[in-house]
């Protein structure tokens, strides 16, 4: 009889919840009972509220158990695990869990199903089909396919990816670069991390296709240092892809070259801004650059450079494998494809939700999320990271797409939704937005560098009731100055959380 396959995720969140200890206990428990098992460390499916989520491969599918702690294992084994087990932690077939089954997984289709480092497993689920097709196409045809898909950059700015690629393709140069922005610094976001840890070859394949499309032979993944698990997975995946001839010279036996290198950031939120990231990659302080010139024309080392977010590059393999039209068929209006939302903060069922654009915030917070973890009423949600708007309940029925959210003064950003219960003090949240800007500003623009420090002081005066009306006026002027006088989103968008907190929750500011 062949060994029973058991899957335990090796994802950072799963490990933070004890997945390593669970894996050890399963091995020990099985060996003590003489059960022949093969333990596979898969990626997470992003249902973090169920982690550590253990899966057993049965004839008719994978049976899930979760959340499992080492203390649960003796009981689990006694009830028949890893065979048919009637246990309180049993969740039935993993793909029948409603939270997962109701999603539309395109970019995260493989997440959790496979050992992330196995190229064979990646191929068995459709991996490298896109690259094989791209190798048979002309550069312009690849760019056209991406344009056709309607894909817009998933880092936050939502710029059409195909247009960016076209600019790089059209700019003649001896050397061009593909840079993956994996500096996922927004609080409440973890989609990039999940993709890189659960399905790293998808990113590698996407970057290789990008290289073919624009004529770049070198690529860099700029990964933040706060992601040590991710670093380990990516370095190993890159080495394996090189050994298999999927990276380097003569990819897949073609005459084409694409080299890929992993670079680690050093703790600077601003390096998620693309021009600051490029300076950092060049070994400098991560200072924001003036635009123009666009990075697509003068980017890394002054050469034409595609800078794309992990999820944008992650979508490329699907677009090339299935065609741009297939991808475009999901979504609504000008927001095509799927939306990757991350439910975070004070949330009962937190994790990654991939659905077509158009779902409402309420469906996500109350439906998928199940409300707060503390059981108290939700008071507000911050959408789009630390530079995103705080939205009150009256705005939760807005569909989540780039344009609709902009109409209520919000921005989708990277799709992070941070939930707060009714104990939140919105004046403190506004103050923190300014404080964070002061800590993380690159310092180039005075309104951002100094304005944020003054912002903290002014908000403190408002909270203390010191000439409230006057200081609110000062704060408002300061916000205008930051918006008008900052080169990038750091100083330009910090006023969003500040003003939305003030507008929707004035009672917290000592009114």
């Amino acid at each position: 009889m062949s060994p029973v396959k058991i899957y335990v995720p090796k994802d950072a969140t799963a490990c933070a919840l004890g997945a390593d200890a669970v894996a050890e206990s399963i091995i020990a428990g099985a060996s003590g009972r003489g059960i022949d098992i093969e333990l596979i460390r898969n990626g997470s499916r992003g249902a973090f509220w169920l982690e550590p989520l253990v899966e057993v491969e049965a004839e008719s599918g994978r049976i899930a158990f979760g959340p499992v702690t080492p203390a649960d294992l003796p009981g689990l084994f006694e009830s028949g695990f890893p065979g048919t087990a009637d246990h309180v932690l049993s969740l039935g077939f993993v793909d029948a869990i409603d939270w997962l089954a109701s999603q539309q997984r395109l970019t995260f289709a493989r997440a959790g199903w496979i050992d992330p480092l196995s190229i064979e497993a990646y191929r068995s689920m459709g991996g490298y089909k896109g690259l094989e097709r791209a190798l048979r196409m002309q550069a312009q045809e690849i760019v056209d396919e991406v344009k056709d898909s309607g894909l817009r950059g998933r880092g936050g700015a939502a710029f059409p990816t195909g247009i960016k690629w076209q600019t790089v393709l059209d700019t003649p140069a001896g050397q061009k670069y593909i840079v993956c922005n994996a500096d996922e610094g927004d609080s409440g976001t973890f989609a990039d991390r999940l993709l890189m840890e659960a399905d790293p070859y998808q990113l590698i394949e996407g970057m290789t296709i990008a290289g073919l499309a624009v004529g770049a032979t070198e690529g860099y993944i700029y990964l933040r240092s706060e992601y040590p698990h991710c670093k380990a997975v990516l370095s190993e995946a890159i080495s394996r892809a090189e050994r298999e001839g999927l990276l380097g010279e003569g990819i897949c036996g073609s005459g084409r070259t694409f080299r890929l290198e992993l670079r680690i950031g050093a703790g600077a939120y601003i390096c998620g801004e693309e021009t600051s990231l490029l300076d950092s990659l060049e070994g400098k302080r991560g200072m924001v650059r003036f635009k123009p010139p666009l990075p697509a024309i003068e980017g890394l080392m002054g050469k034409p450079t595609v800078v794309n977010n992990v999820l944008s590059l992650g979508a490329i393999s699907t677009i090339l494998a299935e065609g741009g039209a297939h991808y475009r068929d999901f979504g609504t209006g000008r927001s095509r494809g799927t939306l990757t939302v991350q439910l975070a903060g004070n949330i009962l069922r937190g994790g990654l939700v991939e659905v077509p654009f158009g779902a409402t915030l309420r469906e996500l917070i109350e439906g998928y999320g199940g409300g707060t973890a503390t059981g108290r009423p939700v008071r507000t949600v911050q959408v789009g990271g630390p530079l995103g708007t705080y939205l009150p309940e009256e705005d939760w029925d807005v569909p989540l797409d780039y344009e609709a959210l902009a109409q209520v003064g919000g921005m989708l950003g990277h799709g992070g939704i941070v939930v707060f219960d009714d104990t939140v003090d919105m004046a403190q949240q506004a103050r923190f937005a300014m404080e964070f800007c002061a800590v993380e500003s690159c310092g180039k623009c005075t309104p951002c560098r100094v304005g944020s420090v003054r912002g903290v002081e002014v908000i403190d005066r408002v909270i203390a009731g010191d000439r409230r009306e006057f200081n609110l006026q000062v704060l408002d002027d300061l916000c205008d100055t930051m918006i008008d006088g900052s080169l990038c989103a750091m100083g330009g968008l910090t006023p969003l959380p500040v003003r939305s907190a003030l507008r929707h929750f004035p009672e917290d500011f000592g009114e």
Partner: protein
Amino acid sequence: MESAVNSHQGRVGALLPVLHSVQDKLGFIPTEAVPLIAGALNLSRAEIHGVMSFYHDFRSEPPGEHVVHLCRAEACQAMGALNLEQHARERLGIEFGETTQDGLFTLEPVYCLGNCACSPSIRVNDEIHARVTPDKFDELIARLESEQ
């Protein structure tokens, strides 16, 4: 030192990888290392100081045995991170950026560890811990103390 510099020389933007290599080995970047790196990469000492002081990660003093990074960002705030921060300072008797007298712990702030669905989060060396309550924090610290 030499191997750290040599393995990265000639690469695009070698400075960050060099600084990371040195710090991974020694835990910090000693003052004596700066002129050596500067010479090897044809940069001024001022440029290296500029880069080191720009990024939160690089340190010029040795840290404690264990570096504890406490997440202060919004998702963790929503789950009581500020309370945990207060508790951690009191338990360890230090402020952010400081090291305990016995040289065991250095406390640092961090803005997001990407573990936002299971907040609050802390990172101890390369390990992330989820849903950290003050009690759980104390258990963790006590375990690390007893391992000495």
